[in-house]
């Protein structure tokens, strides 16, 4: 069994985000790059509160919702959050992160 690092994921501060028609629109005002996240990417973004392990996000939000096996989902999720972290959208930490900004999704 692989020894995976403990990973907490947190939304970066100073990211402007908004859900439009099921897709998460994100702008990093720091470097003014603009992204749109598809459904699965948005699910990770919304769950990245800094207090939840990536593995738990995958278990609760991805595997059953999208019908994927845990190993595959976790491997892909790790690769994916590395990408988001490279663009400054998410932070990855080995301990919980406080003061994570809200996801920008408003539930009416």
């Amino acid at each position: 069994m692989e020894n995976r690092q403990i990973k907490y994921v947190a939304r970066s501060t100073a990211i402007a985000a908004r859900m439009l028609d099921g897709e998460m629109m994100i702008m990093s005002p720091v470097d003014s790059t603009f992204f749109s996240l598809n459904e699965v990417a948005s699910a990770i973004w919304q769950a990245a509160d800094g207090q939840t392990l990536l593995a738990d996000i995958v278990d609760s939000r991805i595997c059953s919702a999208f019908g994927i096996d845990r190993e595959t989902a976790l491997r892909d999720a790790e690769e994916f959050v590395e990408q988001l972290a490279k663009h400054g959208i998410l932070r990855i930490c080995t301990t919980p992160v406080a003061n994570t900004p809200p996801s920008g999704v408003f539930h009416r």
Binding site: G22, M27, D31, S32, T33, F34, F35, S36, L37, N38, E39, V40, A41, I44, S60, R61, S64, A65, F66, G67, I68, T72, A73, D76, A77, F80, Q83, L84
Partner: protein
């Protein structure tokens, strides 16, 4: 252009403060391979002659494509083909005083619209899984 330098009077404020409306500009014919980002070029676009600055050049399918933008405009122009380039703007004159137009290195931050900088293709970040992400996922969502 047949090898001659021509003079044109400019209109529009898209190249301020380098070039002002009413400036007389000198345009000389140029081999497109000699052009570089920072150069101000004259090109034909839909029956109009435009003078904008080169912000990038590449050759994705072998043919040279030049990306230009007016200094005061938020977004770049539609790509310019080598064959559309009429010449290089080398000098300008305003109220009797002339000066050379040099290749000014413009930083990426020096554009008016800071909203979208790497604007030509926005990135659609996909979580790609090697499986069955069907179109019915919305209906099947657990939450």
């Amino acid at each position: 252009m047949a090898g001659r330098v021509i003079q044109l009077r400019l209109s529009g404020t898209s190249m301020m403060p380098t070039l002002w409306p009413g400036d007389l500009v000198w345009v000389k014919p140029v081999k497109v391979e000699k052009l570089a980002p920072g150069d101000v070029i004259l090109f034909l676009r839909e029956n109009r002659i435009m003078a904008h600055r080169i912000v990038g050049m590449d050759a994705p399918a072998g043919e040279l494509v030049i990306r230009t933008r007016g200094d005061t405009l938020p977004a770049g122009d539609l790509p310019v083909r080598g064959s559309e380039v009429l010449g290089l703007v080398t000098a300008a004159q305003r109220f009797g005083t002339g000066w050379a137009i040099s290749r000014t290195p413009r930083l990426a931050s020096r554009i008016l619209s800071r909203i979208v900088r790497r604007s030509d293709r926005f990135r659609h970040l996909l979580f790609t899984l090697n499986l069955k992400l069907s179109h019915n996922t919305r209906a099947r969502r657990a939450w």
